[in-house]
């Protein structure tokens, strides 16, 4: 079979540039360190296995502190800011998508989505807010001499429960990605097939 040079079929579209992929990768790595060290501090079996509590605490603290850095650095990129804009704005079609998700309606026609679907938008906003809440409570636990000790206890309470929630939501996020190789390819290479884009993100103007 010979490829025709005069009419190359447009089979791939660009979904993410270098900045978005770099931001996602760095954030994922830092989040991974946070989760792994948290498990070693929290789950008795892992704590017994690893010990070195002070070192693990230090790594956890610094990884948490660095967690917002990739996104902040990414703000320098116009393309990244544009994607944040897409994530922020909810149109009428997002309401349709959410309603279909609630009713487990998997038909394409009832799941209209732009570059990001409504579920991805909610996830992005929630995980950003939750990470900042973890950062705030984490700082209260870290610099104990700055606040009364009751604050530290309260911050620990929120930090513990929110950590559990984030763990579950994050597992969902990773599970969704595992179920969609083309979406993973988009974040790995920046390109997705046009067919996938039209099917999954019908309103996205690529």
């Amino acid at each position: 079979m010979t490829l025709r040079a005069d009419a190359p079929p447009q089979t791939h579209v660009r979904r993410f540039g270098r900045t978005q992929r770099w931001v996602h990768r760095s954030t994922a790595a830092l989040m991974g360190v946070c989760v792994a060290t948290a498990a070693c501090l929290y789950i008795p079996e892992f704590a017994e296995l690893v010990g070195r509590r002070e070192l693990v605490v230090r790594i956890h603290e610094w990884a948490g502190l660095a967690l917002p850095a990739p996104v902040l650095a990414g703000l320098a990129s116009r393309a990244f800011r544009a994607d944040l804009g897409f994530l922020n704005r909810f149109g009428p079609h997002d309401r349709v998508w959410l309603r279909a998700a609630l009713h487990r309606d998997k038909r394409r026609s009832s799941r209209p989505a732009g570059k990001f679907n409504a579920g991805q938008k909610i996830y992005a906003a929630w995980i950003a807010g939750a990470s900042l809440a973890m950062l705030g409570t984490g700082l209260l636990m870290w610099f104990t001499h700055l606040t009364p000790i009751q604050w530290r206890t309260s911050a620990t309470f929120v930090h513990d429960w929110l950590a559990l929630t984030i763990g579950i939501v994050l597992a969902g996020h990773i599970g969704m990605a595992l179920g969609d190789p083309e979406a993973r390819r988009g974040l790995r290479t920046g390109l997705v097939s046009k067919e996938w884009a039209d099917r999954e993100h019908s309103l996205w103007r690529h």
């Binding site: 704590a47 909810f90 906003a125 929630w126 950003a128 206890t153 620990t156 103007r205």
Partner: protein, 281 residues
């Protein structure tokens, strides 16, 4: 940019029109376009419009977190009561993994802790004493045992109610060794090679301070600091050093591991570390 918005700035993302609120936001579509601009620049594409709900979700989550910190004391009491009773009836042990789900947590400051048993465990008593001594596990078991049932309170907040501890009163070991007049404090060391603790002599002689061999009516397992740990009933649990291997009478109090890192040396439950828990003893 203002005048030619519709056809010259095709690279601008369409959503930004809705964000800015420029005065000419809705002007361009009404003007006739001279020569075929991108048609979709004019119809209100679903992605171009929309409300900033993402930002609200983000701030809302953050706000809930802050609210959680403010209301934590109330929430925590309620949850602990609920999870405490649930943990009693939970055969799977999963509630133990929930925050404050009742039960003990394993904290070790060392990278690995050797396992000791009746064959190789030794407790050394030395320092400012007349008769330094080394006890085996069986030596300790042969001595009079004291059993106490009290709450355990950790300085990080968790509390385990009505926990039985059993062992030899520390005061008895001190009397047997004969503390010299210049000795006023005790330094405890542990076979994890890292952890240390301290008590004043008066604190150490209290009747509710044990060299504990049993906890929850079982021999103390490795993960709980076995075979022998300290049990200082009236103080936060970091004073109850795990894997106890050395008792040294000293001239002054030498702050222990966590006390070098900011915790109070006199760690009375409810009267130290800025906390107001109910006393445990």
């Amino acid at each position: 940019m203002r005048s030619g918005y519709g056809n010259l700035t095709g690279t601008r993302e369409p959503w930004s029109a809705g964000v800015r609120g420029c005065s000419n936001e809705y002007v361009n579509p009404e003007q006739p376009e001279p020569d075929g601009p991108r048609p979709q620049a004019q119809d209100r594409h679903p992605e171009a419009a929309g409300r900033p709900i993402g930002r609200r979700v983000l701030l809302g989550t953050l706000g809930l977190g802050a609210l959680g910190v403010v209301t934590a004391p109330t929430l925590q009491r309620g949850l602990e009561a609920f999870l405490g009773s649930a943990a009693d009836k939970d055969p799977t042990g999963l509630t133990g993994l929930l925050p404050n789900g009742g039960g003990f947590r394993y904290y070790s400051v060392a990278s690995s802790v050797p396992h000791k048993n009746a064959a190789n465990y030794r407790l050394r008593i030395d320092g400012l004493v007349d008769r330094p001594a080394t006890y085996t596990l069986n030596d300790l078991r042969a001595m009079p045992q004291t059993r106490m049932v009290k709450d355990v309170q950790c300085v990080t907040g968790w509390r385990v109610p009505d926990t039985p501890f059993e062992g030899v009163r520390l005061s008895q070991l001190l009397d047997a060794a004969g503390v010299r007049a210049e000795g006023t404090a005790i330094r405890f060391s542990c076979f994890d090679g890292t952890y240390t603790e301290s008590l004043t002599l008066d604190q150490a002689r209290r009747a509710d301070v044990l060299v504990a061999l049993r906890m929850q009516d079982k021999d103390i397992g490795h993960s709980h600091g076995g075979p022998v740990r300290l049990y200082v009933a009236p103080m936060y649990f970091y004073k109850s050093a795990k894997w106890l291997s050395g008792i040294t009478v000293t001239k002054d109090v030498q702050p222990g591991y966590w006390e070098d890192r900011g915790y109070d040396v006199d760690a009375w439950v409810g009267r130290s570390n800025g906390r107001d828990d109910d006393p445990t003893s």
